[in-house]
């Protein structure tokens, strides 16, 4: 199955940052059609029928997420989550820098779909260039009358505010993001209430990923049927997969869900000469590895879950036989330890302790019992935290420890030597 360019269409061929170029390719026509011809309920209906699910990682059905907003509570907000920091994921970064108008148009259509009049985009602090590009695009769109009061003479008002983060992975978690947007520490909130009921400033809020919102534009254009006819039974449509690691041509590849894992690796040019396949981490740093036996499995939400992992954000890291999995596990556990906000004890303490145990394994200074202890401690972090960060520590570690136990055990020195 080849690459299908939907969101990525035109990237690398035309300067889509320029509003004229974007318009020539049909840009903002769907936004105009939405406010002129459709009711918000029609847009919501379209989102629901398309089967679009959140592309940020949680894969929650977008239309259903919108439908949770209580009808009597106003104002309500839409927040576009562009705090992309999941290890191995770089699709939003590309969309923001290469196709900012598409991101904006998706946000506008999404805002209309939930009938909100103030939308926000939270851009990761490290994406300074992307922030500048998006701000310039927003100004162009404002000048063209696509954003502001009474757009297209429809009587509909929409304002968009760009908010820049300042370096914190946890702000990609939707309630952490909302706290950060409110000028607080980016610490996730206790749920429920979910943001749909009590989000930004205590009002109903939808937080959607960049890619999710961007897909609204082609869905508007070609219809829900077009999107839902692609993919598998429950995983509809397309997905940008960020392929990196030990492949010849790493990059973003947009494919229909259900493309096999092997095909995705081949799209990225396959492994380097002379190397053999070891594993793939198919859904960002939070996902478990899958192995050779899963190569011909379809890449969709259900299959990846069934394979013991998840599709997550679409960060797809390929590992060949040169990989030191102890070091890789140490790298990710250190990542989660560094990014833990510190609210929940299991996550905060567990991650930093395991990091230290893994560090000594990396240095071939493990102590007998370390292997069992790591599995036990990582298992006892999962499920005991306010947000998913704590639960993200175990999957990769456990999957490679069970698959390559010798890699870990061989780093343990006998206790007598340690003394």
């Amino acid at each position: 199955m080849p690459v299908t360019k939907v969101l990525t269409a035109g990237i690398g061929e035309a300067d889509l940052r320029d509003i004229e170029t974007y318009r020539q390719r049909g840009g903002y026509r769907q936004w105009e059609r939405a406010v002129r011809e459709l009711q918000p309920a029609d847009v919501l209906d379209l989102a629901e029928k398309s089967g679009l699910r959140g592309r940020g990682g949680a894969a929650f059905p977008t239309g259903r997420k919108w439908s949770f907003l209580p009808s009597e509570k106003h104002p309500r907000y839409l927040v576009c989550n562009c705090d992309e920091a999941e290890p191995g994921t770089f699709k939003d970064h590309m969309l923001l820098e290469e196709s900012p108008h598409l991101v904006l148009e998706g946000m506008l259509i999404g805002s209309y779909g939930i009938a909100c009049h103030h939308a926000f985009i939270y851009i990761r602090g490290e994406f300074k260039r992307g922030y500048e590009i998006f701000c310039a695009a927003l100004e162009e769109a404002r000048a063209a009358g696509y954003v502001g009061k009474n757009v297209f003479g429809s009587g509909y008002d929409i304002d968009v505010t760009v908010h820049r983060g300042a370096g914190a992975y946890i702000c990609g978690e939707e309630t952490g993001l909302l706290n950060s947007l409110e000028g607080k520490r980016g610490e996730p909130r206790l749920k429920p209430p979910f943001p749909a009921i009590e989000g930004l400033y205590g009002m109903p809020t939808v937080v959607n990923n960049v890619e999710t919102l961007a897909y609204l534009v082609p869905i508007m254009e070609r219809g829900a049927q077009w999107f839902s006819s692609v993919g598998t039974e429950r995983s509809k449509g397309y997905k940008i997969v960020s392929v990196s690691g030990h492949v010849r041509n790493p990059g973003n590849y947009e494919v229909a869900l259900g493309t096999t894992v092997r095909e995705i690796i081949e799209l990225a040019g396959g492994l380097r000469p002379g190397r053999t396949f070891a594993a793939v981490q198919p859904g960002g740093g939070s996902s478990a590895c899958i192995f050779e036996e899963h190569l011909d499995w379809p890449y969709d939400y259900e299959s990846m879950t069934k394979a013991g992992s998840m599709l997550g954000s679409g960060g797809f890291i390929v590992f060949d036989d040169t990989t030191d999995f102890v070091n890789a596990a140490y790298n990710l556990v250190r990542f989660f330890g560094h990014e833990s906000c510190g609210q929940c004890t299991p996550c905060r303490e567990g991650s930093s302790w395991m990091e230290r145990v893994l560090e000594r394994l990396v240095r071939h200074r493990g102590i007998p019992g370390d292997y069992e202890m790591l599995l036990r401690v990582s298992g006892s972090i999962t499920g005991l935290n306010l947000c998913a960060l704590g639960d993200s520590i175990e999957p990769f570690l456990k999957s490679v420890m069970l698959r390559f136990p010798e890699a870990f055990r061989s780093r343990i020195v006998a206790e007598t030597v340690a003394r």
């Binding site: 992309e84 920091a85 999941e86 290890p87 191995g88 994921t89 770089f90 939003d92 970064h93 103030h118 602090g125 490290e126 300074k128 260039r129 505010t161 908010h163 820049r164 983060g165 300042a166 370096g167 914190a168 992975y169 950060s180 947007l181 000028g183 607080k184 520490r185 980016g186 610490e187 400033y201 392929v243 990196s244 690691g245 030990h246 790493p250 973003n252 981490q281 960060g315 890291i317 590992f319 990989t323 890789a328 790298n331 990542f335 560094h338 303490e349 230290r356 145990v357 560090e359 000594r360 240095r363 200074r365 019992g369 202890m373 036990r376 401690v377 006892s380 206790e415 340690a418 003394r419």
Partner: protein, 313 residues
């Protein structure tokens, strides 16, 4: 520097500026232009001393001036949100852009504008890694240590940087030109190893590319603008969370432990939170003495695991 000058410094400027030697570049430049650039002999040294004193005083006045200059922009930022507190990050970004870091004065000013307590502001500022509460180098080099970069040679690139710069993670060179940091995934894994220089991406790093980068920055020909530097940076901009560990002193909670070399518990009598410096730092850096403690601490961790197991059932 005379004692008197130092006195003035600490009285006038408070903790953020206490450790400084030079002063605001902006102020120094103004001074220089007032002098008409002419300096000679002992006149010069007297002038230097006076200049230092004056720049310190001016730094404070400068902040007041800066604040007045930025206030309208801050108000615009505040007006963008339904609740003005949301403008906190944009406001501190703004101050950092002008001062090179988020100074105590800036945090106080933000607190006043947003009707927050200064402590709340600092609590927020300290949460984010891109906000510096101490001055940093003119070029902040952030090399990605994420997994994709790591398996594609990032470790070698990082080692090369450290060797070339003569500094480590979270440190600034003595000349105040470079700050170096190893950061988490920068979302550019297709171009590993990647980095940011003052938040502008550099891709596909090789040692040759690193050489080129450092040389052009030193030569002043690099395409990315330097960060504003209003105060000379220290060795690190990090504010140690646990200064007593760094200085070898025991934490308050460790008093119950009789054997000072043993697993000194921090915070509770069971002595559970000591792995940080015991397991790695002591074993690898100080040799035999504490290895017994390491074995003991393993026992503690085991117990913890069992406890967690019980709790699960």
């Amino acid at each position: 520097m005379s004692g008197e000058t130092r006195d003035v410094m600490s009285r006038k400027l408070g903790p953020t500026c206490g450790a400084t030697e030079g002063g605001s570049e902006e102020a120094e430049q103004q001074e220089r232009s007032r002098d008409g650039g002419a300096t000679s002999g002992s006149e010069a040294s007297r002038r230097t001393a006076r200049r230092k004193h004056q720049t310190m005083v001016e730094a404070e006045q400068n902040f007041a001036a800066l604040l007045e200059r930025l206030r309208p922009e801050c108000e615009t930022l505040m007006a963008r949100y339904e609740q003005k507190r949301s403008a906190l990050l944009p406001i501190v970004h703004l101050f950092q852009g002008h001062q090179g870091f988020v100074s105590l004065e800036a945090m106080n000013a933000a607190a006043e504008m947003l009707e927050m307590s200064p402590a709340e502001v600092e609590a927020v500022v300290s949460f984010y890694t891109l906000l510096y509460r101490r001055p940093v180098g003119k070029y902040v080099l952030q090399v990605c240590r994420g997994l994709s970069c790591s398996i594609n040679g990032a470790e070698d690139i990082m080692a090369y940087f450290r060797e070339k710069l003569g500094i480590g993670h979270l440190e600034t060179t003595g000349d105040g030109l470079f700050s170096y940091e190893e950061v988490e995934c920068l979302a550019a894994c297709d171009r590993a190893t990647c980095m940011e220089v003052n938040l502008e991406f550099v891709y596909d790093l090789t040692p040759a590319k690193v050489d080129e980068l450092l040389e052009s920055i030193r030569a002043g020909t690099y395409g990315v603008a330097p960060m504003t530097q209003t105060l000379p940076p220290g060795r690190t901009w990090e504010i140690a969370q646990n200064d007593q560990i760094a200085s070898g002193r025991k934490s308050p909670g460790a008093v119950r432990v009789e054997d000072p070399d043993n697993a000194g518990g921090v915070g509770d009598a069971s002595g559970t939170i000591m792995l940080d410096h015991l397991i790695n730092r002591d074993v690898y850096m100080f040799g035999r003495t504490n290895e017994r403690a390491v074995v003991d601490s393993r026992a503690v961790v085991e117990t913890m695991g069992e406890r967690a197991d019980h709790a699960g059932h």
